[in-house]
Symmetry: C2
């Protein structure tokens, strides 16, 4: 048994391509339909209402494309609006990035002290804390919003003195609190992993949610018997959509994906908001 329909993946921008990269690494036979809302990114500093509305619009657009599973690759949307999206999309499995990352961290922390870094909205929502403490209430979770990491990655300053100083500025507190495991709770952060690891040292483990999310997707598709046959998919059989062709787009996409994007379609924002009006009327 197999299902050759694509997996839908969305993010506020291009960072979700780090999840796509891991999906292809584990399941080269899958096809992906990706949506990056580059006209309205970043979501991480916005209100919960706006994040819910934007996230629902993204999800609904992908649902119109006959996908077999939806990945909410955006940590901000996963933290703030996953329940909301799941309630509206009953017919299709929905996977966020929070639970897989939380599970990996709960397994890894010896000291039972986990740090979570992410956008302001992700940390404020506290979804990682709830997910970890549901798994093990004895684990202490320390959240730290790091709003400068996304622009630093987008500026390409991955290994720069400014970035090292910013890493110290944000992470020192988590080390002082004794965290031995840090969840990179934003799809942009894997690109900073070397600089972060250098500062926190080898005794502190960094959990990349993208990797664990891809494993979760694989487990679900395997359980449902819905994996695609090996030769049906891959990058060239996939589709990538954005709401704005921002400058440095291709360069940035390649950095997140680890490969050049084959082609990109522009989706008009009006199309997203029209979808939303339908949802609101439901």
């Amino acid at each position: 048994m197999s299902d050759t329909r694509p997996i839908g993946v969305f993010d506020s921008g291009l960072g979700g391509l780090t999840v796509v990269r891991e999906l292809f690494r584990l399941m080269p036979g899958e096809r992906i339909v990706y949506l990056g809302d580059t006209a309205r990114c970043p979501y991480g500093g916005r209100s919960e209402e706006t994040i819910r509305s934007f996230g629902m619009q993204d999800a609904q657009l992908l649902m119109e494309m006959d996908i077999k599973l939806l990945v909410v690759a955006c940590n901000t949307v996963s933290s703030v609006a996953l329940d909301y999206i799941e309630r509206h999309i009953k017919e299709t499995p929905v996977v966020g990035v929070v639970l897989p990352g939380a599970r990996a961290a709960a397994l890894r922390t010896a000291e039972r002290k986990v740090g979570v870094i992410g956008t302001t909205a992700t940390i404020r929502a506290g979804a990682y804390t709830r997910a970890i403490q549901t798994l093990d209430p004895a684990i202490k979770v320390y959240g730290k919003a790091c709003p400068l990491f996304v622009p630093l990655v987008e500026e390409g300053l991955l290994d720069h003195e400014i970035t090292r100083l910013t890493v110290q500025h944000y992470l020192r507190e988590l080390l002082d609190l004794g965290a031995d495991c840090i969840i990179l709770g934003c799809t942009h952060y894997p690109l900073l992993i070397q600089t972060i690891q250098e500062f926190v040292g080898t005794r502190t483990h960094c959990v990349d949610s993208a990797l664990w999310t891809a494993k979760e997707v694989q487990n679900i598709l395997m359980a449902l018997g819905d994996l695609s046959p090996e030769k049906a998919g891959g990058l060239s059989a996939s589709r990538f959509m954005v709401t704005d062709y921002a400058p440095r787009f291709k360069e940035l996409a390649a950095a997140f994906l680890g490969a050049a994007l084959p082609s990109i379609d522009l989706v008009e924002l009006e199309k997203l908001t029209k979808v939303c009006a339908t949802v609101a009327a439901v």
Copy 2:
């Protein structure tokens, strides 16, 4: 003769309040209607098409409110789409922030070498360069995009080692090129003026476009006989609208405005895009 209708001011976010502050300082009798598109800010890294579309939507919303003059307080929109907005809004004077800043710089540079700092889109559009060289073709203009300045201001790191390092990173090149005058081509940057001035030294002049834009508005209203009588306006008689109540909103607004905002209305994004559909049909 006088005109008590409000002045409309818009920006991608809250930075435009630096212009509002100067408007009140010069013309305490005016009323302002302000729109900050906080649900979709920042505009500075987006494509020209998207900036034009967002800017036109912002302008159109204010035009529906019977304003006597429109200020495009956003450097990105002023650089990319001022002509476009002026073509669609014939009945009302439109003032952008580029020309006033360019004029001030052209008058001030002794070495005839001007640096311009701004968002990626502002620098790429080259509007400051064209405006300065129309005034004096002999002036050399050096543009430098500084995408980290906006998030640094929004993080409140106005006087921090990270900010000092970032200022050096971006501005050293302009000093090496011999610029003796630097235009702060983004409404967020006046909040960094001390840190910038410290690095560039007292012999380099920093031009704050907000101040010169307010003077331009005053000149136009005076010429038209449209200034309001002194007691008709001020902060409490003005109206402030945003498309998203982002966290830290009030704190940030107060930093830009130099005073607390009296009250704020939330405008739904759908209202903006509906306005846009009308414009597109024209």
